[in-house]
């Protein structure tokens, strides 16, 4: 049978990806340019016995998905810069309480209300360090409507597998443009659900590390009873201030994402014409589409250009970027912000190659010609 295909907006593709992944709870509050995600979820979830709740604000929205996730649902919220700022406290709560949830950020200009209808990429550092305290972060950054679908599925998988919040960031350009989507058949993409506890309720501890760095999570409302808190906690979930327990917990929560095995599982990059490249454009999200155009044009002009596109922004693919820094004369980082990921690239490549940014924050997309000009200048 022929696969289902449709011309969808990025935001519609996101909602379809969430449904494919088994999302059965959406708690949200509308905000431009993310609202179409909520619209589709509001239409579709009731048909499959799921729940859609429009909460009183963005804080209520993330609180609702944390609660629903603890009750065993696969959960989603979607917002944009100002809403994501409001959610930061509870993103931290989901980190320390280790609650799987997916948060979509359709990026617009900022800070504050900024430019609601214009695209931006200025929340990429917020996705890493927006909530206070030491914590790991997973953030994915798709660049096409099809990839928004598949990365949303992957975000659910990673949230369930690593028991933590996962953010998907894309900007207004990809959120609102329409492209053909080929719907994967059921079973074609891997869908991961959190493992159920293997011990009976009376023996269950919600943070039992004898099962590894990601302890199984039971569902509220089942026979399993446990305590959840934003405080540092012991294996039984109750608060602790014991130094060795706090230290072990903090380190484990970072190790579960940043150990080599987890990094290999979570990191995802696209490399384009890198092998013989003298200059690499490191670009993510919609800006990578301008970068690909620029690289093709530079190649036609005889300049050995390539593109490196992190699809997983966090954890940052530091090993591979360091290798590329050793190989090339220069790395150019175009961003719709005034310089964010470029500092991460700088941290990683140190002084092994030249580094230059291309930045734009006026609400218009970064154009291929801006990237081409910067590549020529830096060479």
């Amino acid at each position: 049978m022929a696969k289902k295909i449709a011309l969808l907006q990025g935001n519609e593709a996101c909602a379809q990806g969430a449904l494919y992944a088994g999302c059965n709870f959406f708690g949200g509050y509308p905000i431009t340019p993310s609202t179409e995600i909520a619209e589709v979820m509001a239409g579709e979830l009731p048909k499959i016995g799921g729940k859609f709740i429009q909460m009183e604000d963005e804080i209520g929205a993330i609180a609702s998905i944390i609660g629903a996730s603890l009750a065993g649902s696969k959960v989603l919220t979607a917002s944009s810069g100002p809403g994501i700022s409001l959610k930061q406290e509870l993103i931290g709560y989901a980190c320390i309480a280790e609650v799987p949830c997916v948060i979509i950020n359709v990026m617009r200009g900022g800070p504050s209300t900024g430019m609601p209808t214009g695209p931006g990429q200025s929340d990429v550092m917020q996705a890493r360090w927006g909530t206070h305290g030491d914590h790991a972060a997973i953030a994915l950054c798709p660049a096409s409507c099809q990839e928004i679908f598949t990365e949303t599925v992957r975000a659910f998988n990673l949230a369930e597998k690593y028991r933590m919040p996962v953010q998907v960031l894309y900007d207004e350009i990809v959120g609102h443009m329409r492209e053909r989507i080929v719907f994967p058949e059921p079973g074609e993409l891997e869908v991961i659900d959190r493992p159920a506890p293997s011990v009976p309720p009376e023996k269950y501890k919600p943070f039992d590390t004898s099962f590894g760095d990601v302890p199984p999570l039971a569902a509220y409302g089942s026979d399993y009873r446990f305590h959840v808190t934003g405080l540092n906690k012991a294996e039984d979930g109750f608060p602790t201030t014991k130094a060795e327990l706090v230290d072990a917990e903090e380190r484990r929560q970072i190790r579960k994402v940043e150990c080599p095995e987890a990094r290999a599982d979570i990191e995802s990059n696209e490399e384009y014409l890198i092998d013989d490249a003298e200059v690499v454009v490191l670009a993510y999200g919609s800006t990578s589409r301008s970068a690909r155009y620029a690289v093709n044009e530079l190649r036609e002009q005889g300049i050995k250009a390539g593109m490196f596109r992190p699809i997983t922004l966090w954890p940052f693919p530091e090993k591979r970027v360091a290798q590329i820094g050793e190989q090339v004369k220069a790395i150019v980082v175009p961003e719709m912000n005034l310089g964010q990921m470029i500092f991460e690239v700088e941290r990683v490549v140190k002084n092994s190659c030249k580094l230059a940014g291309v930045h734009r924050v006026d609400g218009d997309p970064l154009t291929p010609s801006q990237i081409i000009d910067q590549v020529k200048e830096v060479l």
Partner: protein, 183 residues
């Protein structure tokens, strides 16, 4: 470089030009199996005044999703023509509604005109189909997709009760444009 063909539909907000762009993108990418990206003006820009929808079509995946140099532009109002009939490439085409665009901007491109709104009102009896007439005309003018693909995409988009109306509108737009081209 991969070949790309860029179209821009512009007019007053509410004239259905975003829908026309979506239908064209569906004709190219769903019916003909090629690649297309559709985008549109959004926010305050899309409320009243001039609005636009852009479609980029190619045989390879489309990278940069916005217009670079426009191959073909439609302008349904003078304001839209003044605002959006820029960046048309040398040798490109501009189609305007002859009743509403009295001073088409001039450049190194060919300007064609058709009474699109009048055709909708007089020949079809419904102004609401002006966008489908315009779509038929743009497909006739550019040949960017097959006539049948455009028609199929239009019919897939509209409710059963309005299929005949839209089929007529699409054909009128296509045929009237062909007459103009035949001189």
């Amino acid at each position: 470089m991969a070949e790309r063909y860029e179209l821009r539909f512009s007019g007053a907000g509410g004239q259905g030009l975003i829908t026309a762009g979506i239908i064209l993108a569906e004709a190219a990418s769903i019916i003909e199996g090629r690649h297309a990206v559709q985008s549109q003006s959004y926010g305050p820009e899309a409320r009243g005044g001039a609005s636009k929808s852009e479609v980029i079509i190619g045989d390879e995946p489309i990278d940069y999703p916005k217009a670079t140099v426009v191959d073909a532009c439609l302008a349904m109002t003078q304001e839209a023509a003044d605002k959006y009939a820029v960046g048309i490439k040398d040798g490109g085409v501009l189609l305007v509604d002859s009743d509403f665009v009295k001073n088409p901007p001039q450049g190194n491109y060919k300007v064609y005109s058709l009474p699109i709104m009048r055709t909708a009102k007089v020949d079809v009896g419904r102004e609401i189909v002006a966008n489908v007439i315009a779509l038929g005309a743009m497909i006739a003018l550019t040949g960017v997709v097959k006539r049948e693909s455009g028609e199929q995409a239009v019919l897939a988009k509209v409710p059963e009760a309005f299929k005949d109306l839209n089929k007529k509108a699409y054909s009128l737009g296509f045929d009237k444009m062909k007459e103009v081209l035949a001189g």
